[in-house]
Symmetry: D2
Subunit: 363 residues, 4 copies
């Protein structure tokens, strides 16, 4: 009856069930931002701590990350009165200060290899060539704001993410032997000083070659209350996995014994109880039947190498012709150091969401 | 004002956005079942194919799985008229025929190690000791019904899951070299006959020892249309990960290069385009920016060894006393062979859900 | 790329946020049923009371309603153990015992006036001519089951719906002067005996003429806790309105002063407070700013006359030709007496849903 | 285990299923705003038309509305590129320019009669006394922005709301005889010039007396496609009702024959078909079985008189003492003229939402 010539919209810009983050904004628009719904009222919000988290994620913070400069200053519009949360939605925005759209002009008709350009164009029939639009990892700045508030909701839980490997350089110690207070002491966010140096050195070498490198982020969560998670379709590990795979460049997620578990026998893998309900070992990674058991939750996230290279690559353009491209913008040689606060943010959003369900259940 | 003495309910018994499976039922109640909403109308439903999928999952099908006998016969109550779907919700149920609750009587006051007993009790204040209630993997029979219908919605997509390892026995070939028509030829569901024999032999040995063993399931999805998935919070890989981690005993998920990606350089990892938009390599695993690119999707799922052993284990009871238990019921020495159809079912539910969104976008 | 020949499904078969009723089933399929998610655990469920509610709605209960015979016996499949709710989803079904599909055979190619036949066909491209399928008011039997459980969740709240008018016969007293214990004493469910007789007499006359008549249901809810409802998009009155307009044949809804309010001045309409927070008048109908204030909630629901007449009517068929039809099945001359328990059920579902949110807020 | 001292948050700040408006902001914070998700891509957005709608709602536009001055200038932050929608979420904000919080200082410890003060405080344990916070009708400015975009999505549908009565002054013609181009010609938004004068005169009189008056808004929607709405829990009339009862001060909603239907016989009320599928009469109000039938949709919304009076009223304070108050701020003597664009906005949001579902179904 009526013909509709316009293109379909993008769905699913919200995350969470009780603590719901809804985001908007393109990497090269005037601002990005979001609405955080479900934050309890009466919390004295530490705004500086939120900005600090954004600073951990922001470009240009060290030599081994992209040299783009973004102020990344978050501005709150609602939901806070006299320094305290009111329980109403927290609206916030981050102005985009340094959009060098020209850096992307040459990409207008090119599909970059292993980027979202091709799939976005094919799905939606158009795309924002200026740095990826909504597909850009710039979106994760919004998540860091939401996550920083989430951290304050569950301030009794400690979330420690860190770079556990870059390329084939990895920390050869269990997380229990690490001193997390050292994570922020170096630009690669590795709490093991010795490994950190080797990682930084590797990234510098890779950068010189105009290449990029992958890595892993490990996250250890301590002081977790018993009871977070649901037994069927909202298992704690399932929601954590969804959160991690929402982060750009993630290729793998494992928790507890992870990919070692398939090689083990039940008699080795089972965590025997102590009489206080804690377990002697923790191969389960703090979760049983989808619900936290009070032991540490720990998991590992695999990041692929950044797809934008400062080398000449062959690719195709929108006319299906082979062309050569070379990265021009200011890009990360390794995404992992800046991914650490994003992993923490998404972890905090998941845990706070479950906590808000859980505490309501404790009546 | 009013005091409420009852306990909190379990949330999140639905999966999917457009194709929504809502389930009910305990392992030892009279029936389990569900409602599948969103199945297109006018589909000639192959009911036998649905029952076949259930039979692949059902207990007692071979020597290397649990010897419980369940008919697992699905019964449809609505949404189908003269053999065709009507587009209305499909209600179905599976009667529980063989609930030996007595097998579980001895567990009434015991928390089994690495089971959901302890966390469920602590979260909800009570639990169904008869085989785990909603926490039981029996729930996955409902998923297989939903997934079997989903497979028929996206019949042009081929989903091949198979056992890729048991303990340290693994297939040492890429999936492209396997003949998936052989997967069902052996009880372990491994398409590589040579590996299959070794896996079965390992499981039999483990079983004799009263022990259990883990394994991995690999899934290769071919003939995938371009455009499934959303760029921000509902990335195809994120929803697949959530689906897989919903399955009991899963500890890890990786797709494409997975946990190898962190060790790679961008110049190695990038998938260069052919002029037709396909890629020369497929380290991306068929997904770019959260959206399928038309190449094969492949991923690997890690399963831990089954926690119930036919050995004596030390554990605690509800009075926080140390006690000894030994598995009495009829349990799987290795969950992987029966998990294969469940992995396929959850994959089908995810892909059909995105397909239903996608085809609507193609107007 | 792929062409999809099948028809679109029906969406939105769930109601509620925390207490979620998901339903399935066609009027002439083998069964209807549903899943109620979110019912607190540990409630001793009065199954007889649930069946009693179904009996109030069921056909054939008196001379002034349809003479179809349906057993309408509800069967519970899960979520209840040793008589108590477990907090897990409650699956239930009602077998369709008396589907005289032949009664509808003559309607296969006809669009009945003021029925859903035409719109359903145009929207979905097909329809279930056997009594309306999902569009049939038979669906409301599922709601009565859900509502009967909801009533037990909020057993401290009293919900009294009753027939307040049939045609131009109406009760000329405020609800406060009625004795609700008399509602079930007559077949029209009017607590005012004098009016009830006139209503029954009117319906009998109308029935003899092969015609039908409309009416109103008033509902008074007493002993409501303060605090049910949300201030923005989930106002208590908004959700109640949505619930009532979900019921077939409803044309109007008003609460408190309703359609009298537009004629009033603020100085007349404002409810002045007593010092205990109650109000001297209650023109607000127990709700302020979307949230219950502890006073009675009362509202009125307008039902149109049943569209199926035992008279010859002109209509069109699927070939756009004028044809004559005459109702053949067994239909209600007035829907209102059987709508009373449905109004109560939907009210209970709304209030229990808000109550479950509310009590969690009371920590 | 952990004690949580903070207050519960406000839920449900989103409206819609496919076209989802999520809002934030308090009446006296720095800004209000929202995110509109689901707007199709490629639409040339008429920004001026959006601002025009806001101007229709804004305070201070005529003598018969509140004399507060708000610029109410909407600012878009994302989702629009080179004047066209991109299909990504549209973030927007409206700065609060004229918050005279002092006007409300005297209300800090007072519960105003028939306002949300009491219920909000009792539900949440605190409240924003500066003009109602989220409970304020200022929130509806966000809805007008969302609705103005929705109108452009369904530009082929015409939505005409108008003031149909103020107090006992009402238009005594059917809407078909009105010239909607005259609605904006007078400050009361009544297309019948004669009635408009009487309404304005009545409001002026009422205002002088420091009193307020109620009224009704009628809305006629023409050129509606067949097929909007769902047959079970998302009936078109149910969602419209929910939308209307979300608007502050609404006490009643009826569509089609509305509250006249209960008095009618089926033989009078049934709308007989013409051979083209249209109907000879339209007592159904354009909806059958929850789905639009292509005829005009028309409905009537009852608004109560504004609760804030410029008269002295008795009320209670937070210490449960009787006190006297008198309105000090700048308030509307009658809410109806400014409610007209809000009714249109909510209607547009509902219809566009269903249209986006519907057009996807038309494949």
């Amino acid at each position: 009856m009526y013909y509709f010539t316009t293109f379909v919209p993008m769905a699913h810009n919200s995350f969470g069930n009780r603590l719901v983050l809804t985001t908007f904004g393109e990497s090269h628009g005037s601002a990005i931002g979001g609405v955080l719904e479900g934050c309890p009222a009466g919390m004295l919000l530490d705004l500086e701590a939120i900005q600090d988290e954004l600073n951990r994620r922001k470009p240009g913070q060290s030599k081994i990350v992209t040299q783009r400069k973004e102020l990344d200053k978050v501005q709150f519009l609602s939901g806070i009165f006299e320094g305290k949360t009111t329980g109403t939605p927290i609206g916030f925005l981050i102005t985009n200060s340094n959009q060098k759209s020209k850096d992307y002009e040459h990409l207008k008709e090119v599909y970059r290899p292993s980027h979202a350009d091709f799939t976005y164009q094919k799905k939606y029939g158009h795309r924002d060539y200026r740095g990826g639009g909504r597909s850009s990892a710039r979106e994760t700045a919004n998540w860091v704001v939401g996550g920083a508030i989430a951290k304050q909701i569950i301030s009794f839980i400690e979330i420690h993410a860190f770079t556990s490997s870059v390329g084939d350089v990895y920390i050869d110690k269990p997380y229990q032997e690490l001193d997390f207070s050292k994570t922020e002491n170096n630009s690669v966010r590795c709490p093991d000083t010795h490994s950190a140096k080797k990682m930084i050195s590797l990234i510098e070498t890779i950068k010189k070659e105009g290449d990029t490198i992958g890595g892993t982020v490990t996250c250890a969560v301590t002081n977790v209350p018993i009871g977070l998670g649901e037994p069927v379709f909202n298992k704690l590990q399932a929601q954590l996995a969804k959160a991690m795979f929402s982060i750009n460049a993630v290729k793998g997620f494992e928790y507890g014994a992870g990919f070692c578990a398939p090689k083990m026998r039940g008699s080795e893998h089972n965590d025997l109880f102590n009489t206080d309900g804690s377990t002697q070992t923790n191969l389960s990674g703090g979760i049983q039947g989808g619900i936290s058991n009070g032991m540490d939750i720990y998991f590992r996230v695999a990041f692929k190498p950044v797809a934008t290279l400062m080398q000449t690559q062959q690719t195709i353009n929108t006319n299906a012709e082979l062309v050569k491209i070379k990265g021009k913008g200011r890009h990360d040689p390794c995404v992992v150091p800046r991914a650490v606060p994003v992993v923490e943010a998404m972890t905090a959003l998941v845990l706070a969401d479950f906590w808000l369900m859980h505490r309501n259940q404790s009546t």
